[in-house]
């Protein structure tokens, strides 16, 4: 029989055990969000198709046709952009979904116990569906442009995991802040908006001057996007930058997790 001891400032070990125990809730919440999102609305699915295609078209026109930026090697520019759109969109929707998740589920927080980490984590999973649809679109584009990938495409899941972790860290930080400070949600769209331009989504990161490149890589999405392009388009990866990206991802994840854990116990009191 499980014995539970509840005390002020409660033990760490119990938490991770609980998290494992509540894994089914995690699936169910993700399943609910996906179901609700795509249920009855055809637009839900159509939107997941139209949005990335339209964004891609605009970025191609602005950065390639107007600004005349070069592509990476032989890759067609639309594919270069779309390969970056994949992780970027995953990152941005994850961040926004995760940040709002606790506030949206406030009735759960105040009425039932479970490790609160389940909620933002399952919200991030939901964006994987959009990601899968985009992946299908990319395959279509590659057929149209007759662009064959190399074996490197097999490493894509690893970079997807990196994108997931890169979104989870800031996502946890934001969601915890959002519970306490209700104006945080106004900041998130802003972060997402400028993030699109300071991350190499519409252009290749190789156009960044050599001496700035390492500093540029402090943005973890630079490494993630470079990884995606490497896996899909081939070519070289800027290794120091990629390592820095992994580093910053870990730092953010650690910060996010810590802050979340620290404030979690008061969520039910303030929400």
């Amino acid at each position: 029989m499980p014995k539970i001891v509840i005390e002020a400032g409660h033990s760490e070990r119990q938490y991770w055990k609980d998290l494992w125990h509540f894994r089914e809730l995690f699936y169910f919440l993700a399943w609910r969000d996906i179901l609700v999102r795509y249920k009855q609305t055809l637009i839900g699915i159509a939107w997941a198709v139209i949005r990335p295609l339209l964004t891609m078209a605009i970025l191609v026109v602005v950065f390639n046709k107007l600004a005349k930026l070069p592509s990476d090697g032989t890759a067609p520019y639309p594919i270069l952009v779309f390969a970056a759109m994949l992780p970027w969109q995953f990152f941005s929707t994850s961040l926004s979904e995760a940040s709002n998740s606790l506030v949206v589920n406030s009735n759960l927080i105040s009425k039932v116990y479970f490790p609160r980490l389940v909620v933002p984590a399952s919200a991030v999973i939901t964006s994987l569906v959009d990601f899968a649809i985009s992946l299908g679109l990319l395959a279509g584009l590659m057929v149209i442009y007759q662009f064959a990938p190399t074996w490197k495409i097999l490493t894509l899941p690893l970079f997807t995991l990196l994108a997931f972790l890169a979104a989870l860290g800031p996502g946890l930080l934001m969601t915890a802040l959002n519970v306490k400070y209700r104006d945080v949600r106004y900041i998130i769209p802003f972060i997402v908006q400028i993030g699109l331009y300071i991350s190499p989504v519409g252009f290749s990161s190789s156009i960044v001057p050599e001496k700035w490149r390492l500093i540029y890589s402090l943005n973890p999405m630079v490494g993630v996007i470079d990884g995606f392009r490497w896996a899909i388009l081939g070519g070289e990866i800027y290794m120091p930058g990629f390592l820095v990206a992994i580093g910053t991802t870990i730092v953010f994840l650690w910060l996010g997790l810590n802050y979340f854990r620290k404030t979690e116990r008061t969520f039910a009191d303030v929400i």
């Binding site: 609910r32 609700v36 009735n107 400070y181």
Partner: protein, 414 residues
């Protein structure tokens, strides 16, 4: 089974802002501005700005396996907080709880129900939220559906359910939660009477199956019929812990006659009866009971107001409502303060003391606010003539005199 040692929980509330805790969300903007201000003026945040509020203070008790413990107390006595502590929703400020066994908590029915999802989907979702395993839900699925009586509507989104069906389904899932320890807040308060009876039966089964139950209720007769022991909380402290009859008596004894009360808006911003005044007028043997209430709310809503009357023996005497019997009469509550006045006819009440409880609710859907035993008054009547007697509670025959008069023969004409 359950061991609670010196348990305390306190909140810090901003002093002076007690009235509008519902609006006290902090914003990052404000805290940044305050931070800069205090940096510039080198002034520390003084403690006087914050006030400590002890929701639960130094409570200790033990519950053995198979015991059904009722938790009673006035509004704000700390019952809900204690349940939230036991169910790990919030963390104690100090003290320790030891729970031996799997804990299930029902603080609300239908937590996490999603209107867009079908009945079937919601059963699984709600079950998972309450901590059931998928296999467990599957095994009990038919039983749950049967108990709720919603077979035909399993694939219908619950937003199309009638409010009664919705609650039945929600409770049905909860009723099938099988944990060794069950914490129940007053969830039985919604739903139609037949379903309530069914739920009470289910609860009795639960207690006879050797599970440990802690049960919060305002309904003393439910407490008396279900519990083997009763804990009485007062101002966050344990006041009395004994067999139920004794505790209930004590609880009732403490009710002071009151004709005026004041409360503050609930944290949730839901409509709250923030002030009430009661006045009784006697005129030639007829009694009028006039009530004036102020209802404060953060949003516009239509609600019923219900008054339930009980006598000094905790027997329910009767029920009066505006809106429950006719939806068109529901109170139109606007954001801010609203004032309403009502009159009840108390002419048939026996001599004795009465307690009134007020509640705001949307019938069969949810309670918005509840104000237990907030008014009390005495009915005093003196015989009009030498041969006239007045019916009194202490005759032990009830509290309401049903008017009767002599007629010549049965029929419609008089």
């Amino acid at each position: 089974m359950i061991k609670v040692e010196n348990l305390s929980k306190h909140y810090r509330i901003k002093s002076g802002s007690k009235q509008d805790t519902a609006h006290s969300y902090s914003t990052l903007r404000d805290s940044m501005a305050n931070g800069i201000k205090s940096l510039l003026s080198w002034k520390n945040k003084t403690a006087s700005e914050w006030e400590e509020f002890w929701a639960v203070r130094d409570v200790s008790f033990e519950v053995k396996q198979g015991e059904v413990v009722g938790l009673i107390g006035r509004n704000g006595a700390g019952k809900s907080t204690l349940l939230k502590l036991l169910s790990r929703i919030t963390e104690p400020s100090s003290g320790r709880i030891t729970l031996d066994g799997k804990v299930g908590s029902l603080l609300e029915v239908g937590t996490g129900f999603h209107p867009e999802l079908s009945g079937r989907e919601n059963i699984f979702l709600n079950g998972a939220i309450l901590g059931m395993k998928r296999t467990e839900i599957q095994a009990k699925f038919d039983e749950i559906v049967d108990f709720a009586g919603v077979e035909k509507f399993l694939e219908t989104p619950v937003k199309r359910y009638s409010s009664g069906m919705y609650v039945r389904l929600a409770f049905s899932v909860a009723a099938h939660l099988e944990t060794e320890i069950l914490l129940v807040d007053e969830v039985l308060a919604v739903g139609d009477s037949q379903f309530q009876k069914k739920c009470l039966q289910k609860m009795e089964n639960v207690s006879s199956s050797g599970r440990t139950v802690i049960f919060v209720s305002h309904n003393m007769s439910t407490i008396l019929s279900l519990c083997s022991r009763c804990i009485f909380l007062k101002n966050g402290q344990l006041d009395f812990d004994s067999e139920p009859r004794e505790a209930v008596r004590k609880y009732l004894e403490e009710a002071q006659p009151t004709t005026h009360f004041q409360r503050t808006l609930q944290r949730s911003g839901d409509p709250t009866i923030t002030e009430g005044r009661l006045q009784t007028n006697e005129k030639e043997g007829s009694y009028q009971i006039d009530i004036k209430v102020t209802i404060e709310s953060d949003y516009d809503i239509k609600s019923c107001i219900n008054v339930s009357t009980r006598d000094s023996m905790a027997q329910q005497v009767g029920f009066s409502s505006i809106g429950s019997f006719n939806n068109e009469e529901m109170l139109d509550i606007k954001k801010g303060k609203n004032t309403f006045c009502f009159r009840m006819d108390g002419s048939n009440l026996a001599v004795g003391s009465y307690f009134l409880s007020l509640s705001l609710s949307i019938t069969n859907v949810r309670y918005l606010d509840r104000c237990e035993d907030c008014f009390s008054f005495d009915i005093e009547k003196s015989p009009r003539t030498g041969t006239h007697r007045v019916f009194s509670q202490n005759w032990g025959l009830g509290s309401v005199e049903l008017p009767m008069s002599k007629i010549d023969q049965p029929g419609t004409e008089t």
